[in-house]
């Protein structure tokens, strides 16, 4: 018997819709309008200036650097969090004695505020800090770096820290996915003589696709929108070496160029959408055919 659709009235959607639209969507749309103006901190009059803001964005060297850094951060964290996440999930799905303890430990950094992480790690990342001293004490002194002050590696350090903090979250989702895979598949594979690596490739990975899908989306979007990790650790420095789009937007606001800042925000939104929606569709399709 087909249920009459009207039994599910739209009333229940209203509260969520209203709050979401007023406090999130509306500001975004207004922001879209301001992107095309010369809204500034120190002027009351606002003029419509068309694409000028966007033109300025694409000719700004520092912004191009920020874009590059954002991409580096996004790619590294997507790869790091997901590869490590799956590895950890598989390892912690095995029958280990300290399994629960380990799961809790690996998940714990992600519940802390990024402020906590940065405050604790910044002193440890100094040239004579704990990390370098550790390397020296085991004879790996040559690996010592100026982790947060060398312009060529600072964004990598920040990415590594982000992976350290949040991989646990991906791991939790992958664990959830793993636990929903029926053991029958593995038994069948073992009977057929498949080794563990083969069953991983042919059973685990494909059946983990929904979890991979979600995690890819979350890490990619989060990576492109990165702000607080960079802001709290280096403020975009030294100089402008670790600027990302999120922090460059803040810089524009700080300079009073609010129309420009909003334009950058709009651009970020467009970029994230353009990258993630096709990915979403692609992955959905892959899921269905499995």
């Amino acid at each position: 018997m087909k249920l009459s659709k009207s039994l599910y009235s739209y009333y229940l959607i209203w509260p969520a819709l209203i709050i979401y639209s007023v406090f999130f969507v509306l500001p975004a749309i207004i922001g879209l309008y301001y992107s095309f103006t010369d809204w500034r901190l120190d002027r009351d009059a606002i003029r419509f200036i068309g694409w000028d803001n966007f033109q300025r964005i694409f000719t700004d060297k520092t912004l191009l650097l920020a874009l590059k850094n954002t991409l580096i951060f996004a790619v590294i964290t997507v790869i790091g969090k997901n590869v490590l996440g799956i590895a950890l999930a598989v390892a912690l799905n095995m029958r280990l004695k300290s399994r629960n303890f380990l799961r809790a430990i690996f998940y714990s950094p992600s519940i802390l505020s990024v402020l906590v992480i940065s405050i604790v790690f910044t002193p440890m990342l100094r040239t004579e800090g704990t990390i370098n001293r550790l390397f020296e004490s085991v004879g790996l002194g040559s690996l010592s770096q100026a982790w947060l002050t060398d312009p060529s590696i600072v964004i990598w350090t920040i990415s590594a820290l982000a992976i350290w903090q949040h991989t646990g979250f991906q791991m939790a989702i992958y664990l959830a996915g793993l636990q929903s895979i029926s053991k029958d598949y593995y038994e069948a594979a073992t009977i057929d003589g498949a080794g563990s690596w083969k069953s991983f490739l042919n059973i685990t990975l494909p059946l983990l696709l929904p979890a991979i899908n979600i995690n890819l989306m979350l890490t990619l979007i989060g990576g492109l929108k990165v702000f607080s990790e960079v802001f709290v650790l280096t403020g975009g420095g030294p100089g402008n070496a670790s600027q990302v789009v999120g922090t460059i937007i803040l810089r524009a606001f700080g300079e009073g160029s609010w129309g420009l800042g909003t334009a950058m925000n709009t651009l970020l939104f467009a970029a994230v959408t353009l990258i993630s929606i096709p990915l979403l569709i692609f992955m959905r399709r892959k899921e269905v055919t499995e």
Partner: protein, 276 residues
């Protein structure tokens, strides 16, 4: 070597390796915890050692000077109400979207999904809140947090609800129930795990957030715990031992919540995110 022995050995190796890896997490956290009991000079070494003396007085000092009692209550209030509001509105909305399979609900789903992608625009949000006339109030902050979390929550809920067989609804309707009955009496009890997950997710992100109270709560007596760190973060003086004590105290509530709710996180995510 027999198969099971091989497997056992492999397990041991993996476990040992993981325990070693976990040190990368445990050590920094221990440095922070031990440091919170040290004197200002001791803590500057940032190495892993036990404090010479366990200065519990650090905690008392931080609690008093940071106004942590007040901040704690503020945090609980803001986070609690935001969580409840998010759960209530999102589960309701997801219920309809998941059950009512029309083009419109597909569009609505995508509409909410955009919330996961779009970055927040602080300045224009301030303008909107101001226009509505309650800028600076705790209420505005609660609504903002809710609006920010609705997207992810709707996403989780609709995934989960889809896995609840429609047959249950059908039976209820046949017995003369209406939509609300079905939602409250049948679906709601079944989505308790996801409620827990959403509650925890919202709690953790709202509790730890520092940007929104900064811009939207003008009265510093309404601030939350993480911001108390700034009380010791003046540009010209940083007492690391006190800062660590502050960080530990700020992290405790979330940590305790997490320990209790651990199992729900995984199961809720399974149901909502993975199967959806």
């Amino acid at each position: 070597m027999s198969f099971s022995k091989k497997a056992a050995l492999r397990n041991y190796l993996v476990e040992a390796f993981l325990l070693l890896m976990s040190l990368t997490i445990i050590v920094p956290l221990l440095i922070m915890i031990f440091g919170s009991f040290m004197t200002s000079a001791e803590v500057l070494e940032f190495s892993l050692r036990l404090p010479d003396q366990w200065l519990f007085s650090n905690y008392a000092q931080v609690f008093k000077e940071g106004g942590l009692g007040r901040a704690f209550l503020n945090g609980i209030w803001i986070t609690g109400i935001s969580s409840i509001l998010t759960i209530a509105t999102s589960s309701a909305a997801a219920f309809i979207i998941a059950r009512r399979e029309t083009k419109l609900s597909g569009v609505l789903y995508l509409f909410f999904f955009m919330g996961l992608i779009a970055p927040m625009s602080t300045i224009t949000t301030i303008k909107v809140v101001q226009w509505l006339g309650f800028y600076g109030s705790i209420t505005s902050v609660i609504f903002i947090y809710t609006s920010l979390n609705i997207a992810f929550s709707v996403f989780l809920y609709s995934g989960f609800i889809k896995s609840i067989p429609k047959a249950l609804d059908e039976v209820a309707f046949l017995e003369g129930a209406n939509m609300f009955d079905v939602f409250f009496r049948i679906v709601t009890p079944l989505i308790v795990p996801v409620n827990a997950t959403v509650a925890i997710m919202v709690f953790m992100s709202v509790w730890n957030d520092i940007t929104i109270p900064l811009y939207f709560l003008t009265d510093s007596s309404t601030w939350t715990m993480p911001l108390s760190v700034y009380n010791f973060y003046g540009k010209f003086s940083r007492d690391w031992n006190l800062i660590f004590a502050d960080l530990v105290m700020t992290s405790l509530p979330v940590l305790i919540l997490y320990l209790f709710a651990q199992k729900y996180i995984v199961s809720g995510l399974t149901a909502g995110a993975v199967k959806g």
